[in-house]
């Protein structure tokens, strides 16, 4: 019935919300990413100072030393808004489920040599606590970062890191026939094993970083830029060689995720660095400091898994790749 | 004793769920509004996976309730085989 109205009288009065028309011109319809993200966070006329932070307004650019003329320049190249984010992840998780099913049906885990299962439990399972730290850090940026262009994807990253932590947890359950033993041992290693203490200290130190952009660089570029290529790249290849290909298979989401998420992390840092020289210098100093922490922290693990020489080489290679990546972003 | 309540979409997916609730909670009453059905019951509503599966004629995971649920009032308990809403007074 309603579609009978002739087209002439259904002339649109405007193509987009005005804040988007102001950015892109009156005649351009906006994407759902743009509608759901740009200029979304409150900017002015706040009522009360936070009881937990009298020195700042509720939303306050000065929580970071990074300055931006427009915080909405920090766009997400994936153009994630809630719906396409969840739909993307749900699709990926369906593959993960298939992988778990296949590994279970074919008894692939019982085919892994026992000593390598021990090794996997030692290097992989404690990382769920690392992911939990990453979850908290992205949550913190979501709470205190400036502009929805930055804080919406950090919220998605927060969810991702919980998801990855739980995926590692599921691997821990799977290799122990659904007993908690392997996960409990991994937690003990995280708390007590000397090889893990550099990582745990680094993570705990990151939990008290105050500047949301420093936290972004530390967690999402410096830490992840070492952990992911090392563990899900180098260690996985080692796992394949030693009969643990099933584990690499179960971790394929992590590689896929790191590649996708890295594009967003790079975009944010590249734009912030290009904004002004002060930003560039700050980002560089944060990156340098936290990257060297991450390299030092993961070296004992690399050595433990790969041996002294190969372990040192692997961490050096991963660090070199990360530095090259930072150079491309203008902060090396 | 007070009523607990659950509000569900009024659509085909929820139909089996609503039928199961009414079967397992004979004291319940329903209020229909455009788009939704509100079910009230003194003190407790129990949703049993088995009954829902029987009504739907297919397997049903308790967490699929999230796809039909619009609102509820009462304390929730959820496990593999049941979902309950209850008051403790």
């Amino acid at each position: 019935m309603h579609i009978d109205i002739k087209a002439a009288s259904l002339q649109q009065k405007r193509q987009a919300y005005k804040h988007l028309a102001k950015r892109f011109g009156e005649d351009r319809p906006a994407s759902r990413y743009e509608e759901g993200t740009l200029d979304l966070a409150p900017e002015t006329n706040f009522h009360y100072r936070p009881l937990w932070d009298t020195d700042h307004e509720l939303y306050d650019q000065s929580r970071s030393r990074i300055t931006m003329k427009d915080w909405y320049a920090l766009r997400d190249p994936r153009q994630f808004y809630y719906a396409n984010y969840n739909i993307t992840r749900a699709g990926q998780i369906e593959s993960v489920e298939h992988n778990f099913d296949m590994v279970e049906k074919r008894g692939m885990l019982s085919a892994i040599p026992a000593e390598w299962v021990e090794e996997i439990s030692f290097y992989l399972l404690p990382l769920r606590h690392y992911e939990w730290g990453a979850n908290m850090n992205n949550c913190q940026i979501t709470a205190l970062g400036h502009g929805a262009a930055l804080t919406s994807p950090t919220c998605f990253a927060m969810g991702d890191r919980l998801g990855i932590a739980q995926l590692i947890g599921r691997i821990g359950l799977a290799i122990a026939s659904n007993n908690e033993t392997a996960l409990n041992a991994a937690k003990d290693a995280w708390i007590n094993h000397p090889d893990w203490q550099g990582v745990r200290k680094m993570v705990e130190d990151s939990l008290v970083i105050e500047d949301p952009m420093e936290l972004f660089v530390a967690q999402n570029l410096a830490f992840d830029g070492i952990v992911y290529p090392l563990v899900y790249g180098v260690f996985s290849r080692e796992s394949d060689r030693r009969g643990g290909a099933a584990i690499s298979f179960l971790c394929s989401f992590m590689n896929e995720w790191f590649e996708e998420t890295g594009k967003w992390v790079d975009a944010v840092i590249k734009i912030a660095a290009a904004e002004n020289d002060e930003n560039k210098a700050l980002l560089k100093s944060w990156f340098t400091a936290w990257e060297s922490r991450a390299v030092a922290a993961f070296k004992p693990l690399s050595v433990a898994v790969l041996g002294a020489e190969a372990g040192a080489q692997a961490i050096a290679d991963v660090a070199a790749t990360l530095k090259a990546r930072a150079a491309k972003l203008g902060i090396a | 004793m007070s009523n607990v309540s659950i509000t569900l979409y009024n659509n085909d997916e929820s139909r089996g769920l609503i039928a199961a609730i009414l079967k397992d909670n004979p004291a319940s009453t329903t209020m229909r509004m455009p788009g939704v059905v509100k079910i009230d019951c003194p003190n407790k509503i129990t949703i049993l996976r088995e009954t829902v599966e029987h009504e739907l004629g297919r397997p049903w995971d308790v967490q699929q309730l999230h796809m039909s649920l619009v609102s509820l009032s009462g304390m929730v308990d959820e496990d593999d085989d049941y979902f309950t809403i209850a008051w403790n007074h």
Binding site: R49, L51, W52, T54 | -
Partner: protein, 120 residues
């Protein structure tokens, strides 16, 4: 009772301090039993405003829509200042009448009970 804040000395800006009104003070004005004008009104006025100006200048603009307005006998009108009975000196200023920043004045015109006698 003080607020409980993370650090001692919690303090924020008093946004409506007198000094922020460029020489004006705020006065609120309401005509009782005439609620068709739905709310008391806010007025920024110099403290030197003669009280009489409320009757001669401000009230007509704010309240003349009401059919009762022209029936008001101002000589019988009673006033409240911040919820207490108050007798203004019409020839003195707001300040001289003791009307401070953000004081609320309510006046009642005896015998006028609004539309249909329903305080409307």
């Amino acid at each position: 009772m003080p607020v409980q804040a993370l650090k001692p000395g919690y303090k924020g800006e008093v946004k409506d301090a007198l000094a922020n009104f460029h020489g004006n003070q705020l006065v609120y004005l309401h005509w009782a039993d005439h609620l068709i004008m739905a709310f008391p009104i806010a007025l920024p006025l110099p403290p030197t405003t003669p009280f009489r100006a409320l009757i001669t200048d401000i009230a007509p603009n704010a309240f003349a829509m009401h059919p009762d307005f022209e029936k008001i006998d101002w000589s019988t009108v009673t006033w409240q200042l911040d919820r207490k009975p108050f007798t203004p000196d019409l020839d003195k200023t707001l300040a001289e009448n003791g009307i401070g920043h953000k004081s609320a004045l309510v006046f009642t015109a005896p015998g006028l009970m609004g539309l249909a006698g329903a305080s409307a």
